[in-house]
Amino acid sequence: MQNFHVAIVGAGVIGSSIAWELSKYKLDVIVFEKGSDVSSGTSKANSGVIHSGINSPPSSLKARFCMEGNKMLQSLADSFGFSLKWTGKLVIAKNEDEVKELNRLKKVGNYNKVPGLEIKDGKEIKIQEPNVTCYKALWVPTAGIISPYEFTIAFAENAAVNNVNFLLETEVKDIQKNENNFLIETNNGKYQSKLLINAAGLNCRDIVSMLQTPDFEIYPCRGEYIVLDKTYSYLVNSMIYPVPPKEFGVLGVHITPTVEGNILLGPSAEFVDDSDDKRTTKKMMKNLLRKGKEIIPILPDKAVINAYSGVRCKLASPDEGGWADYRIEESKQTPNLINLLGIESPGLTAAPAIAKEVVKMISNSIDLKKKTVFKILKANKQRFSEMSSKKRSGLIKQDKRWGRVVCRCEHVTEAEVINALKNPLKAQTLSSVKYRCRAGMGRCQGGFCTQHIVRIMEEDLKIDVKEIKLKSPKSNLFYGRTRKLEND
């Protein structure tokens, strides 16, 4: 049985950022991820917002880690090369009554030491956002946008090149504990580890149950989103949030530009029984469009290119008001089990700060010796679509696969698809390609590129067509062959 210092369950943004922090030390670390790639759960299906801290109650862990994380984002973006735009956010009020909420948010923000907050008049807002009508708005300059899966992948791939082991499609089935170690049984073998970090997101309670009786419940809360075509990116410059609804601690339906130039409408908030229930509903899709049009009347109906939903792991029920703070703690009952529970918004922002905190927490139980050699892997920002002619020509001369465009909508080349497939995590689904180089994310939604990506997987990576998956272990694309080959 393989032995590790630290085992992490879950490679979402929390698990991946912890893995990366740990990779700076001379430790044997393993990460178990049941999905076919990192960022498979809540971490990929959210708004991609870097929060300022105005929405988190003062003195909460959410506020603390949001503020700390927010300050770390720019330097992380500079090191890793992932996209980050400080678009700022406008919380808009329709009338004087709603302005009370703006004042309240400003107060919370001031308490949390959020800089630059300013309540602006509707006329002033019209200058910065010509397509938005409001009475007054709270301007929040320290809010930004990232691509949440790009962010998570950056942490995970950096951890991987610094020798953290990632086992994808590996589900933890059972955990036992003896005096010194956790004995972890997965569908991919048995492992031993001194420390266990539970970053399993919506499955966090299942992991705890394997070792002790949980003292909490989880309340999955689904949020639906609509993605609008890039043609409409000109409609907004910053994030537009109407004053949040008074019910159960969610931020409400907002308009969020993405770093790629699309627009997101959403999320909704609906408590669901099944944490895996990621359906989109006609009712909600229509609702999101309607709410979007309330804020931007000229928004056209035909602008939708995709719709998805994500589920948040809440620790409080709707009856309790739906708001609970993060629980980031070592289990009293099971020493060396570190639980990260209820990491919902502002989870993306908080992740890098939470990761540092977790390292501090385990420094008592384990010897942390910093590595002398540490690699930084810059996200593959070599995007043909963004290069100059000179750069393009140069690359094509070196490797002619840079000259073959396989995704028409996003101008992604064969070379980028191959690089995406050759990632250090060995994640090789269609989504893995999509999230790393954007092929398939345009308005034709894979109508042209899918055939070429499949051929590249077959020819260059020798993947059997029966094994090609969309995004998860059993989401196979194909049934077999039209005509059987000799060796079938």
Partner: protein, 425 residues
């Protein structure tokens, strides 16, 4: 943005550049050469020529045009051989990145970046298929959902079977043809779902693809829900009312692992929009005059990127005309535009093409009606004056209607729009 004037580009100077080597591009290129153009080049993003034709292994091509029924690959081969004989140059796996008003193109392939100057340009980019999100089908997001064309490509070109228990949404020709193909390849085709009260494909295809194999056709139905965590598990269909809204209580779940979407085609005009060509929001293609010239001088459009055609035959005839016009433009034979008249879609007409006339003489019009009609009378008005009245045996949105009309100088100079209408009588 790509800067022009980089030293490392491959430079070319030709008479006519055709974008797309599908049936429209091929026909236009041949015709351009036959009508006096010097160098004619065709750029295509794939490693093969013929566009969608190589995967259309069924027959039915060329019936009106040539009098025989060929398969897609045979039809393509005929055109390709013709083009090669006439000295048309083809560029494979070449993507046009940018198009400029002065007819310059920046294109890329494995040999590098190309800057291509042309005297005239023919747009023949074809179309793309409508996706699940164009109609907002709710439910989960499993694998096993394809547009019919993409599935057809996998089955016929790449030797890949997409699934075993299949449902098809949309009874257009693509959906019907693929239904039969899947049945032939051993799949269990459980049904074709159509929201309208009638099938939108040719009757021949309804008989020979569905009736022949007892594949059920659910008219007045739509897909209300998609179920499947990882791979598709089932779809729920429901009946719709006259407003095409779901009638609750009529839901029926069909277990399947594959859903093919044949929801319609969208003309591909990213390049057209980029260069500022005016687009008709109903056709989805460029606004053109009777020469199929767009609102940017010397740039012409043909094929499915101009309007979605019903058969390749009519498409090819139109494309040949465009090739001729592009050639004439290239050699300097442009006509004098002595007037301007807009053509508008009046009562009962969904769209009419061309949308502008700028020279007197016979004009060939294309149109589609809004609703099916058992008897129909087509009329053309200039202001209030009825200039044409034509009885049609029937009219159907799924069948493009063509007619010739002579635009007089008087009409041209009147500046009053020409309105096309259709009525029961």
């Amino acid at each position: 943005m790509v800067e022009q004037g980089s030293l490392k580009m491959i430079n070319l100077d030709v008479d006519v550049t055709v974008i797309g080597a599908g049936p429209a591009g091929l026909a236009a290129a041949i015709s351009a050469r036959e009508n006096g153009a010097g160098e004619v080049i065709v750029l295509d993003r794939n490693s093969w020529l013929g566009g969608i034709l190589p995967q259309c292994i069924h027959d039915g091509f060329g019936v009106e045009e040539i009098g025989t029924s060929m398969t897609g690959p045979e039809y393509a081969d005929m055109y390709i051989k013709n083009a090669e004989k006439l000295g048309v140059t083809f560029f494979y796996e070449t993507m046009v990145l940018q198009l400029f008003k002065n007819h310059e193109i920046i294109a890329v392939n494995k040999k590098g970046l190309h800057k291509i100057k042309a005297k005239s340009i023919v747009l023949a980019m074809g179309c793309r298929e409508k996706t699940r999100w164009d109609v907002l089908i709710p439910g989960e997001r499993p694998s096993g959902i394809y547009t019919a064309g993409v599935a057809q490509g996998f089955i016929n070109l790449y030797n890949i079977m997409v699934g075993k228990n299949v449902v098809i949404l949309g009874s257009g020709d693509v959906g019907l043809i693929v239904a039969r193909r899947l049945r032939f390849e051993g799949a269990n085709v459980k049904g074709v779902i159509e929201i309208l009260p009638y099938a939108s494909g040719l009757p021949r295809n309804v008989v020979q693809c569905l009736d022949d194999y007892n594949i059920p056709l659910y008219l007045n139905h739509t897909v209300a829900y998609i179920k499947g965590r990882e791979r598709l598990e089932s779809i729920t269909i429901a009946q719709v009312d006259e407003k095409m809204e779901i009638i609750y209580g009529t839901e029926k779940e069909i277990k399947c692992d594959t859903l093919l979407l044949s929801l319609g085609l969208i003309p591909e005009n990213e390049l057209s929009k980029q260069v500022g060509i005016e687009i008709d929001t109903i056709t989805g293609g460029p606004v053109v005059d009777q020469f199929f010239e767009t609102t940017v001088k010397g740039i012409f459009a043909c094929g499915n990127c101009l309007q979605v055609y019903d058969t390749v035959d009519i498409l090819s005839i139109g494309a040949k005309q465009v090739g001729k016009n592009a050639a004439k433009y290239a050699v300097g034979e442009t006509h004098e535009k002595i007037g301007f008249v807009k053509v508008t879609a009046g009562k009962g007409i969904r769209y009419v093409l061309p949308q502008q006339i700028n020279k007197s003489g016979k004009v060939h019009f294309y149109l589609r009606v809004e609703q099916p009609k058992k008897t129909a009378v087509l009329r053309v008005f200039s202001g209030d004056v009825e200039l044409l009245k034509k009885k049609l045996p029937w009219a159907n949105p799924a069948n493009m209607i063509e007619f010739d009309f002579n635009v007089s100088e008087k009409v041209l100079k009147s500046n009053k729009p020409l309105e096309v209408t259709i009525d029961d009588q």
